[in-house]
Symmetry: D2
Subunit: 427 residues, 4 copies
């Protein structure tokens, strides 16, 4: 299914007057406050969030999975779904593949298909947390950290294979989420597991093209419930530092212990020039993988406040991070969920752009906590939806993507094309 531009134009036309008056009012206010509205609109329009290939179908839990309908059955349909999203919001112009689920049979054709949808290939992801049917050795007790050298080698080789697939498609980064860990005290020698992991990562690093980056994800628990080899940002940073300048840390919002101050971690990593990538989602309890901004939108804003600070700092030594959503959709339509997530990211980003940095730094110098809070909350409480809609309108996206998606009965059409009981490859 492909969206005709006319549909979007029609949709936007109907909402035009109402949107225009809201936008004009807001733009005037912001201009009075000293903001350069055009500059902000350009920044919003430029923000692109990669969509992971595994987030296009319904997810599940260990207790079961309730499928939706019309889920993509193969890589082509996944690209088509991201294409749909991108056509609606013009902010989802990249897909992040998971190997082996998404191995392209014909890389050239896949590249051409993606180009048709104006979709780039973001970081590629390896998978050593599951066994594949044709796999020689099992990852039950680990992969890059395994006590058995032959299993480590298999995992290293798989990662290198993932890089090769990524090269063919134009990716520029490898994301390593190492699930390796243990369920019981004593099960593993922490120090040896770290050293083996470092050694394995070094081999992968060596195979990394010069213009690539390696992102090292951390996570405190799950799928193992006592320890994880890369349990926190400190461990990820230690590995990235030992590996070299192409290695970076990747922050997934759901991969933290209760009450962690994530925004401070983000600030520290950017200060050290080691924040490589970001996985957006939201959570109340653990790695819940809920819609971005659905639980703690203010925390998301605070994180973006650090990201914007880091990105706009002319002295910054941190490269521009790779943005990706990493969520699971158990009770919502995956495409609607992703539209909501992208919207929440853009809201937080825009609010962060509105923070008056000079005044904020002045309040900080004076230790004026009241004023610092007023400044942040002023930006956060501003209803910036008209700005985002305007940015969308200007680049040919829908003013209200979810309304558009529903009015057009997109899901119904996908079910007709693909069937009701499809299961997306991968999770």
């Amino acid at each position: 299914m492909k969206l005709e531009k006319q549909f979007i134009e029609d949709h936007n036309k109907k909402l035009h007057n109402s949107h225009q008056s809201a936008f004009n009012f807001l733009a005037e206010r912001l201009t009075q406050e000293g903001h350069d509205v055009e500059r902000i609109l350009n920044k919003i329009a430029a923000l692109q969030i990669a969509i992971p290939s595994w987030a296009l179908g319904n997810g599940g839990t260990r207790f079961g999975r309730f499928s939706g309908g019309g889920e993509p059955r193969n890589l082509e349909e996944k690209i088509s779904d991201v294409g749909l999203l991108h056509a609606m919001n013009r902010s989802s112009g990249a897909i992040s593949l998971h190997i082996p689920w998404d191995i392209p049979k014909d890389a050239k054709a896949i590249k051409a298909l993606a180009a048709e949808h104006d979709i780039a290939f973001d970081a590629v992801n390896s998978n050593t947390f599951q066994d594949q049917p044709d796999q020689a050795l099992s990852y039950k007790y680990g992969s890059l950290s395994h006590s058995d050298k032959s299993i480590r080698k298999q995992a290293v080789d798989h990662n290198i294979e993932v890089i090769r697939h990524g090269e063919q498609l134009g990716s520029k980064a490898l994301t390593v989420w190492l699930a390796d860990g243990t369920c019981f005290p004593g099960q593993q020698n922490f120090r040896k597991a770290f050293q083996r992991t470092l050694e394995s990562l070094k081999e992968i690093y060596t195979a990394l093209p010069n213009d690539w980056q390696m992102f090292i994800e951390y996570k405190p628990y799950e799928p193992y419930f006592y320890s994880t080899v890369i349990q926190d940002w400190g461990t990820s940073h230690l590995l990235a530092t030992k590996l070299g300048k192409k290695a970076y840390c990747l922050v997934d919002l759901g991969h933290h212990l209760p009450n962690t101050n994530i925004e401070q971690i983000v600030a520290t990593l950017m200060m050290e020039g080691k924040l490589g990538g970001f996985h957006f989602n939201d959570s109340k309890y653990g790695d819940d993988d809920l819609t971005v901004g659905s639980i703690k939108p203010y925390q998301l804003f605070l994180i973006f406040n650090e990201l914007v600070y880091g990105m706009e700092d002319p002295a910054s030594i941190n490269p521009s991070p790779a943005w990706m959503i990493d969520a699971s959709h158990n009770v919502k339509d995956p495409l609607e969920d992703l539209l909501q997530s992208v919207e929440a990211i853009k809201l937080a980003y825009t609010q962060a752009l509105l923070v008056n940095k000079e005044e904020l730094e002045a309040a900080r110098e004076n230790n004026d906590a009241t004023q610092a809070q007023e400044i942040l909350q002023h930006a956060y409480r501003t209803d910036v939806r008209p700005l985002i809609a305007e940015a969308r309108r200007r680049i040919g996206a829908a003013l209200q993507p979810i309304t558009f998606f529903r009015n057009l009965n997109v899901r119904k059409q996908l079910i007709q094309e693909r069937g009701l009981k499809t299961v997306s490859t991968g999770l």
Copy 2:
């Protein structure tokens, strides 16, 4: 110090045009969406949040306390400070006293002083978590739950004395925060501690005037760090049920374990007709007692969504809950902090009033999680500050209380009156 009305009028005049255009624009939008703006304004104007007498000075931690300046030195000055707040925002028209810190020497004079400031007396609070200089027996190992009957009696008598003080001033409720608990496994027999507490509360309940309510607070830990006699809402509810229809549960936002779904507790208690009172604050880790809305404003909105649902339910069996701030100000000016807290409460309340309940219930019936989220977020993302300002303006309060407070150099004047190194009685 007392504020002249003229100051507020001058302040409002300067901001009038800007405010009026923002309000008009928002009012028109909301009217288009089907809201009765006048009804909402009246509700906002009617909301009154009690200020606890102990929140008018700087708080501290076990590691120390950094005083501010110009803190109220006695009950009269505390009432004066609440009067200042109320003059600025017309939403802080009640004070909640803590006995023995705030025992009025001349109840009649205190009542007259409060009336002058248009301040009512909210729930009175007993204190059995500290020893007072003239106290016969120590609460080191508990009070209402103590193993020693004479100590329980002392604590019961104190609570009854608090009721008597409250009666003289016109209070209609007693709040029992029972700090009793233990620091070590084995220290206490849980069941006996519960039974003793129930017995003590029954004696206090018997002394309660017929038109009074008793609020039973719960808290999982602190100042004891292994167990608390009333550790959660379930225990508070059990006690309130056993005591009778004048007994209610009190929810303090900071008194929950990490990740607790507080809004669901609120809904359950209101469903059972047992939500008596509410202590507002915010927190990231424990009972941090931070400014309301400074950490998790969306959670506050979700809680208000349940409160509004319960209050507007014509079939509700729950009385109107008592609202109070319970925060501690370690790094901010207490009065500024309280202004920010009241503002955050009114924001959340107003946003909750904007939730389209019919549409929300329809989405829920259809299990349309996407749409339910859209409805809530639409209300939450609306910038309702002009509504709150307008409600304030109409009842003679300042359009921007904090700006007003700063421009008038209120704190400087208080320091001149009271001195720099005052310490507020109580904590």
Copy 3:
């Protein structure tokens, strides 16, 4: 596979001398301390922990599942596995079935098979957290709490069917774990969900035989990640109270928020006569379902301290709770894991039996926290393994079950019988 008694006798003979000297030494010490060792041995021998039918194969997570080998392929083989456990430790004399996974085709034959292994049928468990292939309506958005009456009816009918199956086998209790909940704020009306659940449970309760109990489990999250209809013990207790005297709360150790004082909940529920059942496991982060006692053995002891207190209280109004393990085995052999779990339970139980209750109550009356801790730790630090081994020996079980299991190559034999890639029905 069935164990010959001779094997156990041979195993015990080899260890006899070493065991006897350790037991004698300990028994003498305990006798000196005033304990009635024979009484304790009888109590240990009498303790029976039910094994859930779904815990006999390898579990997994949403990220995948690594199968072991020789897993039971049907109900008969599950009973046989519990029979094996029971033959080794004589403490696992009951199985808890999960319907529809374990529907017996021939109830009589199944009963006979169980009797052969000396296995009784513990509480039966319903399943409305998954859709079954032949099911008319989906539980994706809930079951007993669903907004759609026909889905609630289907779930009610299923629970009644479960009771009927249980009756045929001699079960005396129904465990309702209601997974129902939501992933997003706003998705559900909390109060309506509670009321619908109550109504559904009432219908099931009505179908409950007079000599049956209904156990209502609570859980804060998972498989839904924003709210759960029965989120905590308070909610479970509210439901059980409204339902009647056959309804009880069920405590699963993993179903609590971080840092919850579970032992106090246990004490409160027993005080109210409402603790019906117990699911044992251990966890570090969430509902990790790890081997009992593998993470927090002291907490387990403290919980047993309350259980023993409640069970030995002559004035107790609480019936004897139903004990069951509810764990998942992702990296261990399920049978070994269960042997370790039963052992940990018996250790904690025995240690709790050794607590000197008179001295403890005396220390508590004096608020002597040091002494109370000394008393508990004295019991906990005692190495009671010889007592448990002796109790086992006397009823014909193996002195060291895991050593026995390994020496006999039980798993290898099961793999030969059943194959390497079996998957246990259910999870």
Copy 4:
């Protein structure tokens, strides 16, 4: 008050037979298992845990403090109290001072007094989390990280002064617990705060004698409740690495978010050669500062398992860490509490020494989680109290220190000497 050796000899004589038979039985068992009992006894006897000067009186919370009696009123009495502890257990042969509370008026005399008690001076602690009466500038908004250079200088100078005091007494390390942090989002620029802290620490580091170490403590929250400049081990490690080889991380058990795997952090830091010091205590919720081993004794054992592994590793690059208790005594006699804490540390240490490392590593290589757990639990479940008592006996300490302390009415004598309402200097 000073203990006569005769008292201890009398005490030990009474318990001699019972102890000897328990020790002999255990020693024989351990010898059979291949342990070198004499070597273990020597290690236990050699373990010394420093006592902080502020832990000798009753602590409190922000809600109040209930004093005990006979608390030390000055440095001399603090040393005398540690001397008492050391006389009883011969394992508390060092005191850790807190400046400015413990500034010696006559360093020589204090050294002589300590020598009399056989007490050494452990790491000295600076205090920039409180304002002192004679202090020029306030630490309300930070110290080493403060935005104002003159305040940073004051804090740096204070730390250098602390080093100078330590040099006079023979200390060899400075512990920096930097409380600096914020209560509200936006209050501080995270990056600037880190850079200022690094700069301040560099100045202190420069003043550090060559044979000294600097320990950098981390803590996620309290006394500030939104952020802490050194929030976790990763930040502490980053600072220590940037500072140089005399700088190390310090782990305080209570300074972690819920569910943190602390033992893995310990392993990582020792692997990197950066674990400098350890503060022992226990906690259920936050930095509860409870008696060591009173809440999670198994976690303590797992931590010691890593410590022993690191200390016994011949290739280790980590220096021997400095051990200290850091607890607060709100409901127990401080000296009894400290005796219990030291005992718990020695238990965990001894159990860790009993772990069969060869078998454990073999099980790990085989990913035999069941066996690894059996090995750890075998050591943990062994009742090692007779070993510890024997080690104590041999070096002239009391077999049962708490019984000894109580029988001798030590506290009563201290109250007679010092009075009932003393308050220890410091907290």
